[in-house]
């Protein structure tokens, strides 16, 4: 299954999803597509002024351009998600999404999709961390079992 992860640039979450045989939907792949598009030249990540306009699909024009630009990147991830793992209040080193307003909107849209969803807090101790990984692995296994 295609599993949306939040933070969408979390290498830990991306790796866990892959280990359990699913496809992580991470922002790196979308940025990678932009960066590898040869005809574009809009550093640093090749987002052009057209992208915030694409973001109008999710947010009206009075919503800041930075939110809409980010939403254009998230669009394929949200659209293709079959399931999702959302981690609240992650440490920046775990994965960092820059804009709080974008994050609120993305999390809402994921919840609104009514897909299998695991929401959990970022762990603050080693025991919590073990429980954290256990919950994620149980969720990912349940997706596989559900598929069967």
């Amino acid at each position: 299954m295609k599993v949306f992860i939040y933070p969408t640039n979390s290498l830990v979450l991306s790796d866990l999803v892959e280990r359990f045989g699913h496809e992580p939907l991470a922002i790196m792949q979308e940025i990678g597509k932009k960066v590898r598009t040869q005809s574009l030249d809009s550093p640093p990540i090749n987002i052009t002024p057209e992208d915030p306009k694409l973001g109008l699909k999710y947010a009206a024009v009075e919503v800041p351009s930075g939110v809409r630009g980010r939403m254009s990147l998230f669009d394929p991830l949200i659209s293709n998600a079959d399931a999702a793992i959302v981690v609240h209040d992650p440490a920046p080193s775990f994965g960092c999404m820059g804009c709080a307003r974008t994050n609120e909107l993305v999390n809402f849209l994921i919840r609104a999709k009514k897909i299998p969803l695991l929401e959990l807090d970022y762990p603050s101790s080693e025991d919590d961390a073990k429980e954290f990984v256990y919950k994620i692995s149980r969720f990912l296994k349940s997706l596989t079992e559900g598929k069967k």
Partner: protein
């Protein structure tokens, strides 16, 4: 500016820029003024602790990064010549951080700083004047420290509505020219010729010439100017010079035909400034249209406004179209022309107050310059809103030309 000069290092403190697709525009504007954008490096621990250290809690990690980068500049961890603070237009959280970061840098360093709120439509052209002012302030402090005009010099200010020229000799204005801007070069020729005629001097005798305003580059090339300079630094110099407030703090307000400038000045050098240009409802154009609707000339509008009471007219919009409609409706329901004129001045002043003066620290004396400062109702409305005395110096409408002539005299000995 010459290519042999080292590029000015501008720190970019931003949230949302790269996702708005305008980083390229910023790079382009900075390149044109021989500057480079730098991104202060911080450690992850700096970001972890910054909310407590800065005293501002925010939800967006990019804003925490912005504060951490500001701290890196203030503590000297990173060396830069100027700072550009930019966040998305219409983001409330970012607007708070932008304003506080700007104030924090301004108060703790002598580094010039500008803040800007952008959309995906922001272009290099829009940013150029701001970047030019920022780099000039960083690069040319000795030129900007000049407080007296010397020799025989001239300045031409090619504005969006009018073109102004002055000739100065030994710290005095000896000739002036003021014409509507129709064709940039022809209007400048006419204004310059009028100023030379009044001064009774030949063009060949002018020792140095400065150009400013929208048409500064075209005029600079045409007249082989010694100084081609944007209007923010030039107007700051012109304002404190004409108001005789060259030392200490000052705030310069210039409501132009197309955009407004609010500049916080220290010893005649701009520290913080904003430049609005999104809405014509906040510009001199709105007052022109009001005057036309009232059947008076723009020069009569100010005196009329001073006699009126803005509170007697209800305005529902700041928009140049709907705002005028409000005024027309008021006239239709029996409002007095003087009250309508006062309401128009109040509307423009209120927009300046709400949209621009929140972006700088307003410190006395407040000096209003530009053609609109002669519309008496406007400085009066600004006084009422700011609760401070507003100074309108003599020859306020020639501010850019005077500033250019003053600064150009620094080139005489070269």
């Amino acid at each position: 500016m010459t290519s042999s000069e080292n590029p000015v290092r501008i720190a970019e403190l931003s949230c949302g820029l790269e996702y708005s697709g305008i980083q390229k525009e910023i790079e382009s504007a900075t390149k044109q003024v021989n500057a480079v954008m730098v991104y202060p490096e911080v450690d992850i621990s700096d970001i972890d602790n910054i909310e407590e250290e800065f005293g501002l809690k925010v939800a967006s990690p990019d804003l925490k990064l912005m504060m951490a980068r500001a701290k890196a500049i203030v503590t000297g961890k990173v060396h830069v010549d100027a700072v550009f603070v930019a966040t998305c237009f219409r983001c409330a959280e970012a607007a708070i951080v932008r304003s506080e970061v700007r104030r924090y840098i301004h108060e703790h360093t002598g580094i010039p700083v500008i803040s800007y709120s952008f959309t995906e439509r922001t272009t290099a052209g829009t940013l150029l004047t701001r970047m030019e002012a920022l780099t000039t302030t960083a690069r040319r402090k000795s030129l900007l420290a000049r407080d007296k005009q010397s020799g025989l010099t001239a300045g031409i200010d090619s504005g969006s509505t009018t073109t102004k020229a002055v000739v100065m000799k030994d710290n005095k204005i000896i000739g002036k020219g003021w014409v509507p801007t129709i064709k940039v070069l022809e209007s400048a020729e006419e204004a310059y010729e009028n100023a030379l005629k009044e001064a009774g001097v030949d063009r060949k005798d002018i020792q140095a010439l400065g150009t400013t305003g929208y048409g500064r580059f075209l005029l600079g090339e045409h007249f082989k100017a010694d100084l081609i300079q944007e209007e923010i630094t030039v107007n700051s110099k012109g304002a404190v010079y004409l108001a005789d407030k060259q030392k200490g703090t000052a705030t310069v307000l210039d409501i132009g035909g197309m955009d407004n400038k609010a500049i916080s000045v220290m010893d005649g050098i701009p520290g913080m400034f904003t430049m609005g240009g999104i809405c014509a409802g906040a510009s001199g154009r709105f007052l022109e249209m009001t005057a036309k609707r009232l059947g008076v000339s723009i020069t009569e509008l100010g005196a009329l406004a001073v006699k009126g009471n803005a509170q007697n007219v209800k305005m529902n919009s700041y928009c140049i179209v709907f705002g005028i409609q409000s005024l027309v409706n008021s006239l239709a329901t029996g409002s007095k022309p003087e009250d309508v004129a006062a309401a128009a001045c109040h509307s423009v002043a209120e927009q300046l107050f709400e949209q621009q003066l929140q972006e700088i620290d307003v410190k006395e004396p407040v000096i209003m310059v530009g053609g609109t400062s002669l519309i008496e109702g406007l400085p009066k409305a600004v006084e009422e809103l700011l609760k401070v005395k507003v100074i309108v110096p003599e020859n306020a409408q020639y501010i850019g030309a005077v500033g250019a002539a003053l600064l150009a005299s620094g080139f005489i000995s070269r």
